[in-house]
Subunit: 174 residues, 2 copies
DNA sequence: CATGTAAGTAAGTAATTGCTTACAAATATA
DNA sequence: TATATTTGTAAGCAATTACTTACTTACATG
């Protein structure tokens, strides 16, 4: 990975996230990255290819995080870790999540794999804890996840966020 | 409101919602509405003006709904009605909500007014019910709201949705 | 019925779009 | 050191963009 290639990916993620895929031109991305426009197409074939590559990096990161959570023994802690996720996102990953959710609302759901992985972890854990309707309960927690990601990424009010998390956990951990 | 003007608004809402503001050209909107492109600019000045007018109609509708909920006497039922909202949205309004949330993730938050209105209703009701931290509790319910809107509008699985609502209400109504 | 205004169109406009081409510099490998 | 490959650029491409202009048609009101 050359410097300029990485620079293109960084600029693309940032600009796609805050202006939308169709709101940024390849010309703008090139200028932001300090690179000639042609280089984008050398490295990524076309604009869609750049978008995909941009997301791939972070997707792998998050999959690793989910795998680690899945390997935790205690089902309570597995659920807790999933709930904590929206508030443990480092600020550098905010553009990634902003982009993922922006695309989700554009019917381009890259979140789908993340969501199904989390649902599997949640259902297993809830079954271990003898919850009655594990599917619904898992969906309920995932709905929180959506709302919390929105709180964390868009509002960036971390003091409120911690109270939210505590209030939620109170409802699940007696 | 002439037929053609309304037709432009309908097409614009639909296309903006499913392809994004920057993903649709005025030319496309005009063709979809069966109208000359110039008419769009006659009626709405520019593309941004069309977007605003498109949203204004439904915004007023929803404000009315919130006002009605605010006038309900029982605080329990006020909370219940807010929780039910995502699942009582008629299908014809899906494009509106899809667009509102798409714009929200594009840092163009038209949801903000809706959210603050709902928060006021929730805090008042929670205070009446002697909840301890009403602000956090209201935010928590609004986080659900975000997640549920996403469930309702994007997935459109209404049988799941009803179970979700029941599961949530169980946590608030003892 | 005359006339002013609103509703509507077709054909433009300059600027921007995603992408290609032809070529140069840098780097790796023999 | 010679050569092949990768990395990079500048200039240009046709198509599309938001928007304007010059014009016609429909309609309301005195």
């Amino acid at each position: 990975m050359t410097n300029k290639k990485q620079s293109i990916l960084d600029s693309a993620l940032y600009l796609f996230a805050y202006k939308g895929y169709n709101g940024v031109s390849t010309n703008t991305i090139a200028k932001h990255a300090g690179v000639s426009e042609g280089l984008i197409f050398k490295h990524f074939k076309d604009k869609k290819g750049l978008l995909n590559q941009t997301l791939t990096q972070w997707k792998l990161d998050f999959n690793q995080i989910l795998e680690d959570i899945g390997n935790i023994e205690s089902p309570q802690i597995r659920i807790q870790r999933i709930m904590e996720l929206p508030f443990s996102i480092p600020e550098i990953q905010f553009p990634y999540w902003q982009l993922v959710y922006a695309l989700k609302w554009q019917n381009l759901d890259l979140m789908h794999n993340h969501a199904t992985s989390m649902k599997i972890i949640l259902i297993e854990a809830l079954q271990a804890l003898r919850y009655p309707d594990t599917n619904t309960e898992a969906e309920l927690i995932l709905s929180y996840f959506d709302g919390f990601i929105s709180s964390a990424v868009l509002k960036k009010d971390s003091s409120l966020s911690k109270n939210l998390l505590k209030a939620l956990q109170k409802k699940y951990i007696q």
